[in-house]
Each structure stands twice: as structure tokens, then as C-alpha cells.
Symmetry: C2
Subunit: 758 residues, 2 copies
């Protein structure tokens, strides 16, 4: 457990979060809490079919219902053209984005939005939905990636031409793109191998499962300006995507991020915001929309099901000499699965001389997938990390030992090109090897211990911070990063550290897009890294001005004092030219009205030295031989967290990621009928882990500071979900002697494997 | 009418205000519109006596009333000590401030707050007030300044020792202070005079008469942080004063300024905010308080009644050689009338070699006065400008001619010390002399034309602005100045001018004290001047960064380009080293993600080059000889406005100031019974001018740019109220042949003067 070090006064401590009191007393305003004068309530009509052509929509009966103020369909949106735009450095296809917000011509999944109603209350709105008459021509759906890749598969998009290795082709198919990364000569590599393992593995569609449903309240004002209040990971992304869908300038859209009840990547794209906006424009009143849990499952962005082929070869000494993989990911109804990230992360923990990774992004009649915590990486690691485990088993080698032998270090190259800067992967392997958990024998029948590693590259993107100094020597920090996991604290702590003042003296505020500089999404494990970086830089801007103020106070005709003559340590400014002259931070703040006025520091960053994150997990399981039910006995997660700014929140991120990984491994899946309708779209039937299913998740914070950040921060939030799927599969394999190749490893599956598996 | 000049593209135009749509559609959130979950409603119990000792307060019956959640008295406030603090550079005595918020030991005016209740609705709160039992020992009140100055007058504060010419004394009296300014040798000066006029003049207490009553909503959160929403001229003043009264750090108080329905100086000090805060702390719930109109009249801060003695002497050629004045101002219940400002402004329009001005700040049993548009100056100008008019009359000289002869110019000295920089007083006199109004003879019986001049020094204080650049080349401007008279526009225009972009591309936001640097009150005619100055400087910070970005794009190994090699004109950046290289403002904005990230500009200012404002008004009146009723026939106001940023709003300020001056001159007054109770505390009985009472007010914008501001801005909002009182008095004198020496010049007064006056 990291604590404040001699090096740092604030970083490494565990203060309470600024939003804590509001959140435990119910004062915090989430999107669903929005109430505006004259507000209407909206509801979305969704397709009952997974694949159908819309022949006509008759909204007249709905419009005639008393209390209904407006009905909208895709006709109320600008006709979306196929053009690329950027939102938070991530390219988006505006036509696909728009058509996902409201179906145009075809519905592509059950739950696809078809129309929407604004009414004086939700009951009338719901009643009105039933009065909208949609004439569908039902088409055969295609629900699985392998089926969708077949030449005779039903086509979702009749104009979707496959992009082959980055080049456009004339081939129309459900394969949106095929990518490939290659390093060395895999064919030659496999010839050197003494042992080769080949496997096909699958994962099912799973959902982020955040507590709070999607919501949006919009007011399209008389002056043409659109205001949106929503629970989002990125107010500026909502601003950008809404402006793209509605074809209005970004500056005509103000987004106020409300508090957010979980996101995990699922609260980045817009679903309801453009709908609320159009309904507000049509009615002249604010309109609020909130999804039901069924809407969440059927019509937001889960993470893809995948089909993966893996082949790895090693020498008898354990050296991995070659690796191949083919990842086929379901994008959902529109192109854009995280298969690219999966390809990049799959073998990243290992220095393998010869590698080839192919990825396929395939559309199917399911909701469009979106980001979910290290998107693509858990799927990929489930495949690669179980095959490495099998290699180790075949070589009679400790599974951490094979990782120790092959682990990636500074200077090693990833399959997608970049070489690693200083990383801490080996430190996580050593931390696992040396952990009391790993040293403690696991005894008893039907028990097994598994390990697995994982990588996530993290992102930097852009952030802006302003720091204003108060007359009492405290400061206010203005930021644009939605706080999901305690980033108000972790960013304020970096400002406090830089300013040499207590954490409690920094008051952070997350404000609307009108009141802060552009700031990318809270995602990609970037917020404590990049917005913290901006806070550090803005604090430096404050310090430079304070030194100038102190110098001005101390300057005289005889002795001119410049800011370069002012030192600052332990909260005290001192003059190198006159040892008598000292001013505390609070004194310089109090003197502002007499030294030139207020002090405001500002910084914007786009840091390029993002530090990748590695984790190695150990898990002990027990498998009930009669039912196949798996119990997690013990779980230890080691992770290179760079510098742990707020260790409790780092531990929380790790524990949360592991828990989500456990759910994904053991129980979670979207279950579909053949017609493409989901049968378990509620929390009663979609089985997420509860606290009763889980042991304490032990965490080991390995701190290898990231040289690309002033305080050594690495993103920590995503990588913890990468190893659990494989670690648990490996543990079950060790317990049962059978390799697990398909998720979820629910009791029925495990039982069938132990009875029939290889 | 000023229009955009060749010099400026945006400044001088008349775009619509950003808050216009919200204000005409009712969307704008004023303080009274605040609704928070679980909110309680508060009411204040006020003293029925103008002067009494509080022997005891029994709140038990009120507390027992169902629905009452808390009752507070002064016991719930920290015991206020007599100590000075600063709020917006204005010194405040915290004990007096606190005791005005809630009476301690004594009540000093009818309406003085004694207790407060928070209940589930306003009706219960009101009912509870009646259940609070206060035992008063009633004391004799003193209601007029001359009475209060008498040696045997009842004392309001038994410990108030007179400050005599800046020195503390042991004299206990109602005279809080006596100040004196002196220049030259008045006694010798009067010996040179051929004509001397001496007069005693009086004005009555008048109110700002803003439409929206005072309000405050407070939430004292579980974590100790206090949030306040209020209609105020200065969020940071409310923050500071609330923190002083409650003895908590300023950083524990967040103030969100709501839209404000008029202030005119009256919405600067706190009345309800600390009460709402304490009631919230006691109940754990948000509490809202709103004043009634009677509360407004009886318990906020009107401008003082005054008694003034004036003596001026001139030679036959019109040269004024000496002037004396004694101004006695009623401070109300606590020290602090604007008599100092009155003394400073009184003779400021004139270069008089010998002057002495004495001022007395006197407490009486009326509500504590506060600022009202050029506070102190209209009273003073009423005295001096009618006496100058009489001098001119006695000399047989045109009243503008005597001003032309004696008018102050650059380098002339004010009685209080400073010498004038470039000012435009003479230009206003010439503008009046040359105006068609002045050239047109006024004919008909009972008619008269009056002129008068006025001065207001304006203030600078401190402001902070941040400008964030959007990807579409528009910008968001963050400011802390409450917008009362269109300053969102006038500040955004200065940013647009500096950035070389259209006005519509700047979106200003007025935010809470958490989200912007320290910014002083919207008052003292400082906002367009000082916050506009900060907007200009923040825009320069943006431009410097944009030049750096452009330079970075154009730099190559062969040709390094620095920001100094980049020019900017007409919205286009160009490279002095390569004529081919050009980028528009919008292009540089769009390139931000590829040139280093977002751009944020920041500036804080404390400008010292505030430009004083002068005005000269012409008014024609007709007096009904039977009733004494005065009708304003025509009114022309000339004013040196520096540079008119938004001419319509400058004209609006002038027209508004004149209208308030007309009301003050002709009708407005607080009428008291001998016991100190006000008899006309409603808008039915307190007679403000309506549109039916008024002609069109013609304005002449004289633009003498202020050298102390990058765009030459001078404050324009206050000085228009300075001349009307005297101008109308002079017009009535010319119409009736009788000198008017007392305000208001209501029909009865005018009739009595014309029948009995001198």
C-alpha cells in the first residue's frame, strides 16, 4: 500500500473526494435529476425486428393524442452523408452515427430507434408510441460473426465495401475491414518451435452494466442555441457528435455534464441527445429522455462477441518464437468494433520475434458495439493468455516463469510497430511471483490456480485546466473531465503538489463546455494522466506569477528582484538576494490586490508520452464437479500503476476491473433467439456478480513512474479488466484438466467441458 | 449616433445581447426562480420600532409550529467584533455589516431584522413570525441629519466615536466622521469675488427602485461547504461579506450569481445571504428568502437624505474664484454614507483655485444607506450646480458659458488632490452649446430651460477573464461580472475586436465564484472598462498562442518561423518570411489538435487608468402655476463616454440615469412619521416616473477616448444621474423665478416656493 513519500507531500495520500458528501446525501445532480420549467418527457419507439426495411411510418395517430407535443422520425434529422469526422481524436462516420441515433430506411437490430415522442408526461409518451404505425418488410437477420462473414450472408449495408489492409475494395460484404500487423517471419519462427499450441476461442457480447441509464435533457433555445444536460464521459464528445448529427456548429451546442453513475466506455457516443434536441426544437420546450434497462441492453453499445484463432510456438527452454492470431469481432449493426485495439494488445506483454495478427471488423444484427474498459483487449487476452498457459503446461513450466522469460521490456517492439519506453510489465510478474498468494500452496480437490497478464496502451488526447487563486490562499480548479472514478481528487492532488499547498485547499469544479477549454473524454485511462498533467502545468503558470508578485514586493531601487531570484519550498517564497525576505503562499495570495490583481493559471495539454499499463493477476478457483459452478477463492492483482496519485482510487479501479472481468468470465452474455431478439435484457436475467459472489480482491500497486508525465502517472483504469478472463479460464483448466475456450464459463458450459472437453 | 468606424470592426456596432432571448422568453434564471430539492422557505421578522433595545426574544412558540424547521436570531451568528475587512477594495466594518444583517442588542430602524424562520412553505413561515415574542425597550428615534448632529440627540451607537479629519477622537456622537478637502485659500478667494451666492439645500432619502427584490438561496452542505444563489451585482462581494459575517474562509463559500433585475448599487451588500446560510445549516436543507417590496424600502440600502451648505464666488467676467461647501449626509443606522464621494465630485467639473469642502457622515434611525448610481454625487451636484446657475444668472451670463469659462481640463486639480488626465468635460459643454435643443428658443408661459453638469470618477478594481477557443474558430469567454446593463455584449465585443473575429463568434458566460478568477462588483461604472480590459488582455494571450501555432506549422529545417514572424490582419495570419503562407483564424483553431492541443487565454487586471466621466444636460420644463406640477418637455444629455463600445447600451445607460434623476428630482422620497415608520413603502405610494411621465431622452455621445484603456473605454453608467436634479431645479427656477433648494420638487413644494419662496 503506497503512502506519501519523502518525495511528495500530497501525491500518494488518501484524502476524501470533493464530491463525496453530495453523492452520499443525494445532493449530487445526475442527468435523471434534471428538471427545467415546462419540461416535456420523451420516449423512443424501437424496432421489434433485428433486420427489416422500413416501408412507412405513420405518426398521425400519435400526434393527435392529447398531451403529445411532438413526434419525430429520421425525417427530422438532416439526411446523413457518409463522411468522417473526429470526436476526441477518434474518427466517426457521421452517417452511421446518425443512423444509429434514428434508423433510416432499415432497422439493423432489435431496439433500433425508429421514432420518438415528446409529451407532457412519460405515460402519455409511452401510450403515444403504441399509436405510431410502422410498416416493416422483415429481413433475415445475421447474428454471429462467422455467419456474417459467409459469402451468402444477409447484408446489413448494401453499400458497405470491405477495407482490405487499409485499402478500399469493391467487395460488398458484412466485413467492414480486415487489418493485419506483422513482425519478423512467423512461418520461419514456427519451424524453430518445439511446442505449438493452436486454439479457437469465443466470447459473447457483454454490457458495461453501469447503474445509471442513459439520459439527455435538451433545450433548443429561441436564439438557436442548443443546451444539453446529460450523464456522459465526455461533454465535448456529446457537443461534437450532436453538432455532426444535427449539422450545426459546435459552438451552437452547450453540454453540461451531470454527475454520472458509471460509464466504462458506454457513455461516450450520443444516443438520446440529438433526439431530445430535435424534440425540443419542435416543441420550443425542454425535453428529457431516460432509457429503461431493456433499452440499455438492446440499444446502447455493448462490447463485441468475438471468434479468435490462436497459434503460438515455443522452444523447450520456454522461449516463444512465433505467434499468430486471427481476431474476428462483431461490430454490431455499424462498423467499428475494437478489433484493432485487440490486435495491438494481444501479444504486447511479450517480446516475440515473429508475429502476425489479423483482425476482422464484421457487422451483425446486434446493437452497435462501443467502448468497454480496455475495449478489445480482454477478448484478445482471453485467447492469447490461455494459449500461453497451455504452452507453459506442455513445457512443464511455471506459467509465471514463461512470462518472466518472454516478458516485454523497454525497447521491445509491439506487433503494431511502436517500441516500448520504460514499462513495468516484468515488475508485475515479479510482484506476482514473490507474492504470498503465489507462494501459498492451493490444496483440495477441484481447485486450480490460474495466472494471466494483460496490456492496455492508454491514451493522452487533450485536456484544459484553469486555476484561480483565492484571497485566502486556496485555489479553485476548473476542469472539463467528468469525474467517474475520483478524478476530481486525483487532479486536485496534482495541483496541490505542484503548488505546495494542502489538498483541501484545492477546490475542483467540472463545468460545462462553455466554461472550460476543450477536454477529451474521461476514458482511455487518460484523465488522471492528461487532465492531471494540465493541472500541473496550470499550477506552474500560477507559481510563475506568484514569484513575479513576490519579486515585485521585494524589489527596490537599490536591489531589483526578478522572479528568477525567488525560490519556493515548503509553502514559502524566499529571496535569493535577501534572506530576510520571505512570504508564504497564503501571504502572496492575500497581497494580490496590492500586487497587480487576481492570479489565474491556465494550461492545455496534448501529452504524447502516455505510459502503457501492464497487469498480472493470480486467481484460485474451485469448481463444483456436480454443477460446474465456479467459486473464486482468492484473487490477487498486480499492476504497474506508474505513480499512484490516490492509492485508494487506484485500488478501486483495479478491484472494479477485476469484478467486471469475473462477471464476463463466468456469467455475463447477451442471449439471443434466432430472430435476433434478446431474451435476458434485464438485471434479473443478465447475471452480473454481486458482492456475495466475490472474495476481497487483493491489489499490489507496482510503481514504475511513467517518464512521459511530470509525476509519473500511468492510466490505471482499464488494464485490470484484461487478465481476469484468461486467469480464471486457466484456473478452471488447472482445476478440471480441461481447457476452457468459450465464454462465459457458466456452470452448464464448464460441466459440458469437464464431461466432454479435450 | 456612433457607428463602426474604420478603426474598429466590432466596437461601435449595435449587436443584440447574448442573454436577450432568455430574458424575453422567461428562460433566464433569476434568484427568485431557484428551486432545489427539499428547499425550505424563509421569512425575516423585522422591528416595528425605529429605535429600541431588545430585552429578550422568545422563539419557542414559533419553533413549535408544525412545518417550522428552524428559527434563528443573532445568537446564531458569530459575535461580531468591530474589525475592518475589505470587499471589492471597499473597506467594511464587519460588526456593522453583521448587525445590519441581524440586530444585536438594539434595533436601529423600523424593518431591522430581528429573527428569521425557515418552514416548509412561506405561509407557515409568515405565521411563525407572528409567534416570535420580542420584548423591546422603545427608545426615541432621530430621523434627520441636523437633529442627529445635535449634542443632545439620542445616540444610535453608544460607542461610536467621531473620526475627525481622519483622526480618531473620544467624542461619542452620531457623527461617524468629519472629512475635509482644501485647495488654495478660500477666504482670500472670496475677497476677490464680485458676486457671491450662498444656499442651504436638502435632499430626501430615495431608493434605487430596481424591479426585482433581494433574494438568496443557500445550501450549507454536509461537508461544510456553503453554496449561495442570489441576484447580486457582485458574486465575490457576497462571498466575501458572507464569509466575514459567518467567520468562515472565503473558499468555503461558492456564490452563483443569478440573473439580476436591476441593482443600481443596491444589490452589493448582503442582507439575506447569511440568514439563508444559517437557516440552511440549522435544517440541513436549502433555504430560500425573498424580500417583499416593503422590506425593500424599509430594510435595504437607499441613498441618503442630505443637508448641504454651499457658497461660491465669481468675478464679473464669470471666473469662479472661490467655493466652499459643507455636506451633511445621513448614513442611516450604521456609518458609511457616500459623503466622501459627494465631496470629491461636487466641484470636479470646475477649475477653481480656492476651495474647501467639508463632509459629515451621520447616523440616523433609518435603514443603512448603500450605493445608488454615482453615490453622493447627485446630492452634491444638486447643491453646487444650482448655485453656479444662480451665479450665472446674477452675472447675466449664459449658464453654459460660465461652465465654458471655468470648466476643468487635463492637468486641472480636483479638491481631493488628483489632477485630471485627458477628460472630455469641455467637449460635453460644447456639445450642449452647439446642440439644436439649446439653439431652439423655449417659448410659452411657465416654461424654463435648465442646464447642469456632473462628474463621476468611476472605478477600476479587479477583473478576471478566460477565453477558450473552439474547434470551429468561435470562442467561449468566461467572466465573473454580473450582466446588468448589457455587459455580456460589451465585453464580448472587445474580445471579438481584439481577436479580429465577428461578435457572434464570442459566447460569454457569467459563472460562479468557483469557476472564474476574482472579479469585483458590477458597479462603479467599471465592468465594460475593467472586465473589458481583461477580455482584451485574454484575447491577446490567445493571439500570442495562435501566432505560435501558425509559426510552428510554417517552420521547417531551412526556414525557422517564430511567432514574431507572424502577422495578423483581417482574420488572417501571414508569414513575413513566406508570402505564400496564410492561415485564417478558423483554420488555426481547426488545427489545434495537430499543433499542441486546445488554446486558452487568460488575463487578470487591476487597471489604474480609470477615466472620469462628465456629462452636461439640458432640460425644458413647464410648471403648472395652479398645481405646481412640473412637466418635462424636452431633455438632452451630452456625455463624454470615452469610446462607446455598444452605443445602444451607452444610450440606454444615459436614458436610464436621467429617468432615475427625474424621479429623484420631482417625486421620490421616503416619507416618515415622527416615530420613524415609513408611510409610503410601496410602489403605489413611492412615486417613480413611468413612461407616461417622460419625453424621449435625447443623448449625445461625446467620445474622448480614455488613454487608460486599450479601447478608450470610460465608465458610462453612473454620471447620467448626476446632472438631472440640478438641471430640473434650474429649469423650474427659470420658469418660476424662484430658486428650488429642496428635493423632491413635488407639486406641493413647487407651489409653496412659487407662492412664498425667495
Amino acid at each position: 500500500m503506497a503512502e506519501a513519500t519523502a518525495e511528495y507531500k500530497v501525491i500518494g495520500t488518501r484524502p476524501i473526494r470533493p464530491d463525496g458528501a453530495d453523492k452520499v446525501t443525494g445532493r449530487a445532480i445526475y442527468g435523471g435529476d434534471m428538471r427545467l420549467t415546462g419540461m416535456l418527457h420523451g420516449k423512443v419507439l424501437r424496432s421489434p425486428h433485428a433486420h427489416a426495411r422500413i416501408k412507412s411510418i405513420d405518426t398521425s395517430k400519435a400526434e393527435a393524442l392529447p398531451g403529445v407535443k411532438a413526434v419525430m422520425t429520421v425525417k427530422d434529422l438532416p439526411k446523413a452523408e457518409a463522411r468522417m469526422a473526429a470526436a476526441g481524436e477518434m474518427p466517426i462516420n457521421v452517417k452511421y452515427l446518425s443512423n444509429n441515433v434514428m434508423a433510416d430506411e432499415k432497422v439493423l437490430y432489435k431496439g433500433h430507434a425508429v421514432a420518438a415522442v415528446a409529451a407532457t408526461n412519460v405515460h402519455i409518451a409511452e401510450e403515444a408510441l403504441a399509436l405510431i404505425e410502422v410498416d416493416y418488410e422483415v429481413l433475415p437477420p445475421v447474428l454471429h460473426v462467422l455467419d456474417a462473414m459467409k459469402a451468402d450472408a444477409p447484408l446489413l449495408h448494401e453499400d458497405l465495401k470491405t477495407t482490405e489492409l487499409g485499402q478500399p475494395t469493391e467487395t460488398v460484404s458484412n466485413i467492414a475491414s480486415h487489418i493485419q500487423f506483422k513482425l519478423g517471419d512467423p512461418e520461419a519462427g514456427f519451424k524453430e518451435a518445439d511446442v505449438i499450441v493452436e486454439r479457437e476461442l469465443t466470447t459473447e457480447t457483454v454490457h458495461q452494466g453501469y447503474i445509471e441509464p442513459h439520459n439527455a435533457t435538451a433545450l433548443w433555445n429561441e436564439d438557436g442555441h442548443l443546451s444539453i444536460w446529460t450523464s456522459t464521459q465526455g461533454a465535448f464528445v456529446v457537443q461534437k457528435q450532436t453538432s455532426e448529427v444535427l449539422e450545426i456548429p459546435v459552438s451552437q451546442v452547450t453540454v453540461t455534464p451531470c454527475e454520472i453513475g458509471g460509464g466504462f466506455g458506454g457513455k461516450i457516443p450520443v444516443y438520446l441527445e440529438p433526439v431530445a434536441a430535435v424534440l425540443s426544437k419542435k416543441t420550443g420546450r425542454p425535453v428529457k429522455l431516460i432509457m429503461s434497462r431493456t433499452d440499455e441492453f438492446e440499444a446502447t453499445g455493448p462490447t463485441p462477441a468475438s471468434h479468435m484463432k490462436i497459434k503460438m510456438g515455443a522452444k523447450n527452454d520456454g522461449t516463444i518464437v512465433a505467434a499468430e492470431a486471427t481476431l474476428m469481432f462483431e461490430a454490431g449493426a455499424f462498423p467499428g468494433s475494437p478489433v484493432g485495439a485487440g490486435c495491438m494488445c494481444l501479444y504486447a506483454p511479450y517480446a516475440i520475434p515473429n508475429m502476425q495478427v489479423d483482425g476482422y471488423d464484421v457487422v451483425v444484427n446486434k446493437p452497435k458495439t462501443t467502448a468497454y474498459r480496455a475495449p478489445g483487449a480482454p477478448n484478445a487476452a482471453f485467447a492469447s493468455e490461455t494459449v500461453i498457459d497451455e504452452l507453459a503446461e506442455k513445457l512443464g513450466m511455471d506459467p509465471l516463469e514463461i512470462r518472466r522469460i518472454n516478458g516485454a521490456k523497454e525497447g521491445d517492439r509491439r506487433v503494431d510497430g511502436p517500441t516500448f519506453p520504460r514499462i513495468g510489465y516484468m515488475e508485475t510478474v515479479h510482484a506476482a511471483l514473490e507474492h504470498e498468494h503465489y507462494a501459498t500452496p492451493l490444496t483440495g480437490p477441484n481447485r486450480g490456480r490460474g495466472v494471466a497478464s494483460g496490456f492496455w496502451f492508454n491514451v493522452g488526447f487533450m485536456s484544459s485546466v484553469v486555476i484561480n487563486v483565492n484571497s485566502d490562499g486556496t485555489v479553485n480548479l476548473v476542469e472539463g473531465s467528468t469525474d467517474i472514478g475520483g478524478t476530481r481528487a486525483s487532479i486536485a492532488m496534482q495541483a496541490a503538489e505542484t503548488l505546495g499547498i494542502p489538498y483541501a485547499d484545492v477546490r475542483p469544479s467540472v463545468v460545462s463546455t462553455d466554461a472550460v477549454g476543450y477536454t477529451d473524454v474521461t476514458g482511455g485511462s487518460r484523465t488522471t494522466f492528461a487532465t492531471g498533467y494540465a493541472a500541473h502545468d496550470a499550477a506552474l503558470d500560477v507559481m510563475a506569477q506568484m514569484k513575479q508578485r513576490a519579486a515585485g514586493r521585494w524589489t527596490s531601487d537599490e536591489t531589483p528582484v526578478g522572479p528568477e531570484d525567488v525560490t519556493y519550498a515548503d509553502g514559502v517564497f524566499a529571496c535569493t538576494k535577501d534572506a530576510e525576505q520571505k512570504l508564504t503562499f497564503k501571504e502572496v495570495a492575500a497581497l494580490m490586490p496590492r500586487t497587480g490583481g487576481p492570479i489565474t493559471g491556465r494550461a492545455t495539454v496534448q501529452p504524447r508520452g502516455v505510459g502503457g499499463a501492464f497487469a498480472t493477476h493470480i486467481v484460485d478457483v474451485e469448481v463444483d464437479p456436480d454443477t460446474g459452478k465456479v467459486t473464486i477463492l482468492r484473487y490477487t492483482a498486480t499492476q504497474d500503476v506508474g505513480t499512484a496519485i490516490h492509492p485508494s482510487y487506484v485500488e478501486g479501479q483495479i478491484q472494479g476491473g477485476v469484478v467486471q472481468g469475473i462477471g464476463w468470465a463466468l456469467n455475463e452474455e447477451f442471449v439471443y433467439r434466432d430472430d435476433g431478439s434478446m431474451v435476458n435484457s434485464s438485471f434479473l436475467d443478465y447475471r452480473m456478480p454481486t458482492s456475495l459472489d466475490l472474495p476481497m480482491i487483493d491489489t499490489v500497486l507496482v510503481e514504475v513512474p511513467n517518464p512521459g508525465h511530470p509525476y509519473g502517472v500511468r492510466g490505471v483504469g482499464e488494464v485490470p479488466i484484461v487478465p481476469p478472463l484468461a486467469a480464471i479460464a486457466n484456473a478452471i483448466s488447472r482445476a478440471t484438466g480441461k481447457r476452457m475456450t468459450d465464454l462465459p464459463m457458466s456452470p452448464g458450459y464448464v460441466l459440458s467441458k469437464t464431461q466432454n472437453g479435450d
